[in-house]
């Protein structure tokens, strides 16, 4: 028959999965920062461009056109280099995010399948069958135990409740 805390185990697993989903984006950005090695180079380029722009603003275009133009060319060259760098960094970030998402969803699917496999024939909890009439068969699916709550029904219910809870929490935490 049903293990005493099966319902709690399923609830805990669903809660954990939803929690991980919330932190997925943070995790992927952290991972991409760890993988990326030349973040300082980008910072240096930005500082360089800023310095050159300040220098250019102090030069009069009429009086020192050649210097101005040379500086303009340098700025453009460095800006192009920075753009290429940012593009590649963004692409790498997107790739990391994609990989992390794929891994997460595979892990989640594996967890759900394993839970269903484990509690295929055992209900997570049992109540008197007249309490959940007339849908006792649907609730007990796939166990077939009268009055039992099947893993599929419990998974759906837990998922919905946990999602609601996280939505309430997110809404309250947002300004």
């Amino acid at each position: 028959m049903a293990a005493g805390y099966a319902w709690f185990l399923v609830l805990g697993s669903v809660f954990l999965c939803n929690l991980m989903k919330t932190f997925l984006s943070t995790l992927s950005s952290l991972l991409s920062k760890m993988i990326q090695k030349d973040a300082e180079q980008e910072m240096e380029m930005r500082t360089e461009i800023q310095g050159m722009k300040m220098e250019q603003s102090s030069i009069s275009m009429m009086d020192e056109f050649a210097k101005y133009a040379r500086l303009e060319r340098k700025i453009n060259k460095t800006t192009d280099k920075l753009k290429t760098h940012v593009k590649s960094r963004t692409a790498q970030q997107a790739k990391v995010k994609w990989v992390v998402n794929i891994i997460f969803y595979i892990a989640q699917a594996a967890l759900m399948v394993s839970l269903i496999w484990k509690y295929y024939s055992d209900p997570v909890t049992v109540v008197p069958s007249r309490w959940i009439a007339p849908v006792e068969r649907l609730v007990a699916f796939p166990t077939g135990v009268p009055g039992g709550v099947g893993i599929t029904c419990w998974l759906v219910v837990c998922n919905k409740v946990v999602t609601l809870g996280f939505n309430v929490f997110n809404q309250r935490s947002q300004p």
């Binding site: 319902w7 709690f8 989903k21 919330t22 984006s25 909890t125 109540v127 007249r130 309490w131 959940i132 009439a133 007339p134 849908v135 709550v149 419990w154 759906v156 219910v157 837990c158 919905k160 409740v161 609601l164 996280f166 939505n167 309430v168 997110n170 809404q171 947002q174």
Partner: protein, 312 residues
Amino acid sequence: MDTGGDTSEEATGSSTMSAAQRRAEMRRRKLLLNSEDRLNRIVGFAKNGSDNNGTKAQPNRCRAQRVDIIMSRRASRRPAEPRFHLDLDRTEPWSPSSSSQRPSPFLPESSALSSLSHTATPERRGSPLPDCSEPPPAVEDDVGALRQRLKGERAPSDNISGSPRRGLQNYLSRFDDAMKLRGQLASEKPTQDGGVETEEFDPFRVFRLVGSILLAVFVRMFVCKYLSIFAPFLTLELAYMGLSKYFPKVEKKTKTTVLTAALLLSGIPAEVINRSMDTYRRMGDVFSDLCLYFFTFVLCHELLLLCGSETP
């Protein structure tokens, strides 16, 4: 005799000259008269009458140009409507040598075609033309007559040109809709990608959820021994349907998703989609209530069993 010969030669010369001059003059006049005809022929619009009727064609052309001016002035008074600058009134397939009864759009004022706005229709273009001496408002009768004539001319060939024209208009309007939906989807995608999509909790929603939790606890404590747990839930939902009007209605922004965009483009009216989405949302609310109710009931049951096992 020589003088006679000379005079005769002079006479022939002068007559030859005058004949040549005359011919040149005729050629020049012919060229001047037919220049506009030639231009229209080059660009594929009808010449109004033959060369001999050049003088008759001139007022017709003037009239057509005045039609353009009048319609542009009228259109400027109306609110802007999206129009497509297409020769939809053509009754024949386009070819450079084909003639049509429509006045040529390639008139001096048609330089406005270079603007990319789709509201730059022939009716909106217009500046008084130097060729036309009559003031435009005086030709409104001609406009009506022209329109009637065009309608009359169009009527027999409506079966041929009506459906392609309608089809083209349908295609263009759907293309417009597709572009707008694409823009809306693109603007909504960053907000969805930004993080977890959170549902909005209006006061009534919160009231429903709290009510479901309280009812589940109450039912577990007192009611479940006597009847099914779903009966009180159904009663609660019926009560919510009645109570919903006492709560402030929050306008929910309809999000443009790929599904709604696809349904819109497939021809389903927006109102039907909105109603369906509204019904779907209500069913979702009821399902949320049911899940929370059942979860609270089972949780209470398990807690009571736990407390029951702990008590000696």
